[in-house]
Structure formats: structure tokens, C-alpha cells
Symmetry: C2
Subunit: 223 residues, 2 copies
Amino acid sequence: MTTLDARQQILAANQAAAQELRQRFVAQGTYVVNLISSPGSGKTTLLATLARKLGRRQRCAVVVGDIATELDADRLRAAGMPAHQIVTGGSCHLDARMVAGALDVARFGMLDLLLIENVGNLVCPANYDLGEHCKMVLLSVTEGADKPFKYPGIFSKADIAVLTKWDLRNVVPFDERAVVQQIQALRPGGRILRASSITDEGIDELCTLLEQRVGACKAAAQR
Amino acid sequence: MTTLDARQQILAANQAAAQELRQRFVAQGTYVVNLISSPGSGKTTLLATLARKLGRRQRCAVVVGDIATELDADRLRAAGMPAHQIVTGGSCHLDARMVAGALDVARFGMLDLLLIENVGNLVCPANYDLGEHCKMVLLSVTEGADKPFKYPGIFSKADIAVLTKWDLRNVVPFDERAVVQQIQALRPGGRILRASSITDEGIDELCTLLEQRVGACKAAAQR
């Protein structure tokens, strides 16, 4: 068996597990978002902010992946968000079986919105379907404006791109126009939001977007 | 063949290629650094700064890896650093064969210092030996203070850790003491530097450290 064969088998097995998850999410009317970004782009901070805003109106929970430590789940639970930590023990991405296993253990009950915080990595997680409705990529303004074209995999697959740490946009060199042009070229029609968990800028817009999708998902399940 | 077998075979083949590279570097007296960090931590900016400072005194070159685009090599050549781009076409890390192939094509001539800028990824590159003398991990202060324990692989293997974007340390929440404690726990005796390519803080210290190692490498080759 070649390396390529092994890789194709791994991805095919993941796809089958993801398809099972997706059917379950669709039948239950649970909208699922797969959050992907570099380490330190602000995934957990954004989720803690969403917990505070959305958590009162929607039944939300988070599954969070890290190579080591349970820090993120602890932070999210402290913010009032039901959270389950997957420690991948070295693996650079979540896969669908890990998520299915986590949901079996976590027993969140019926959810309107499940947020999956992937391992901090802009590369490998893009290739693993988790049965989600949508991938959301985060790019902090401190990471520089050349990233979408350097990491085209995730920026072409993510239906929502959030430019995070927006409060720092004037503190660091950041070419907003260049970033927006690259994202639009890679994902025509995708949504681009600007958000700061410090100033709350953009958070209401993100909540509104997610709640619209939660509503549509629920309506589809009831038909 | 299981996935684990396939992975072990890939790593074993890489180790053999890395060992060949290492013998060549040692014999030539070329000191080699493998730079690893998240996307946007400032690898290319730091290298451009080193080009300006070190490039006058040492024969330096860069091999730079990206999934897509030749942007980084272009930037480095503009800064006066001989540079060769490896476009990995999706692969999330450099491996030793890619580096060997790049050196064959680049024909840099005799070098005192070869800097290898890995793909922006704090996870996978840590597992692939490139024949380097030392791994250098970059962590920007904007990424937050919890990262070493969340990415123990690279922080335990890197002999030098550089806290980058040091000029922003008072603009963002950053717990220097916590970061230093984590790095020291993972890599006792490793060097920790603070650097800003904007203010030049810490750059001379890094240059001095690298030049000491270049000198020791050259002396060993001449014995």
C-alpha cells in the first residue's frame, strides 16, 4: 500500500463517519459549525463571547479539540457554555469518529447549535469533514494579510470567514482590502465578518447570522 | 498495513534522508536552523530582519516552505537574502527530501548559516527532522500565553524559543511569566529570547547567539 493509498483510505473512512453524523444533525435540527484557525487566532475567546450572548437564547454546546490539555473546555464551561474536550494526543486535527465519540460521552441533550472548535492548525483540519453544516475560518488581524492565498484549502472551504482581534487593526500593519479580495477569490459568495471579543464589535452580526441558520436548520428538520 | 505502520515508514524514510543531510551540513560546517511557528507569527519578517543584520557578516540563505504561493521567497530576496521556495502543494510540513531537492536546485554555494522556514503550522513540522542542528520555535505575544502546554511537541524539541512581536506585549493580554514557565518545563535549559522586528529589540541578541553557533559549527568541521 502506498502512502497515497493509506491517506485516501483514511479520508474515505472519515467521510463515511462524517456522513452518519451529518444525517443525525440534520434529523435533529442541530446546526453545526466547525471552527478552524491558527493557534491563537481567538477561537476559544470568540466562543466564550458567543456563550454570553447566544447561550441565553439558544441551546448551545461546544466540542473542543486540542493536542494536549483541557484548558479550553475549562474556560468555556466557566463562561457558561456546556463543553467537552477531545485531547487528540498528538493528532493535528479532529476527525468525525472523535466527534461522534465525544458526543456519546458528553450527552448534551437536544441542541440548537453545536460549535466544534478544531485543533489550532490552518492546514490539516480543512481536509476532515466532521459532518458540519459549515466551516468557519478565523484569521486574526495580527497574522498579516497574505494568509488566504497561502492557505487556500481552508479559505476555499469555509463559508464564513471572521477577521478577529478587529480592535487591533490599526495597531498592526493589516491590509483589509487585500485580505477581503483573496477570500472572495477563493470562496465567492462566502460571508466575511469583522469581530472583536474585546470591544464586542461584530459579535451581534455573527450571532444574527448563526441564529438565522439555526432557524433554517430547525425548519428543515420539521418539514 | 495499518495507518500506524504507514506513518512509521514515512517517518523512518524521512529520518534516513535527514541523517544524510545532517552529515553533509556537519562536514561543510554549515549551521542549520529549522524555524517553526503558527501562520503569522513573524517567521518571514524575522528572517528579513536577520538578512539585513547578519547577511553582511555571514554567508546565509533561506529555504522556505509554503503550501501555496512563492510570496515568502520573493520577500526574502527583496531583503537581500538568497532564498529558494518549496511549494508543498498541500503538505502541512517540510520533509528532508524536499529540503535536499531544494538545495540541489538552489545551488547556494558554501554557506555559514542555512535557515529553513517551515510551513506555518505548530503541529506537524515538529515530527519531521530536516537534518538541522537546531529547531527554533516562534510564538508571537498576540497568540496568548497558553500555547506551549497546548503544543508540547514543538516546544519540547526546540532549542531556541523566540517570543515575537515583542513591541505589542503591552497592547494585548500576555502573561510572560506563564509562557516562560511552560517553555522551561518542556525544554529545560533551552534559550528564550524576546524580539521585535519593528523596534529591533532582541535582534542583536539573536544574531549573537546564531553567530556563536555558526562559529562552533565551523570549528568542529575544521578539526
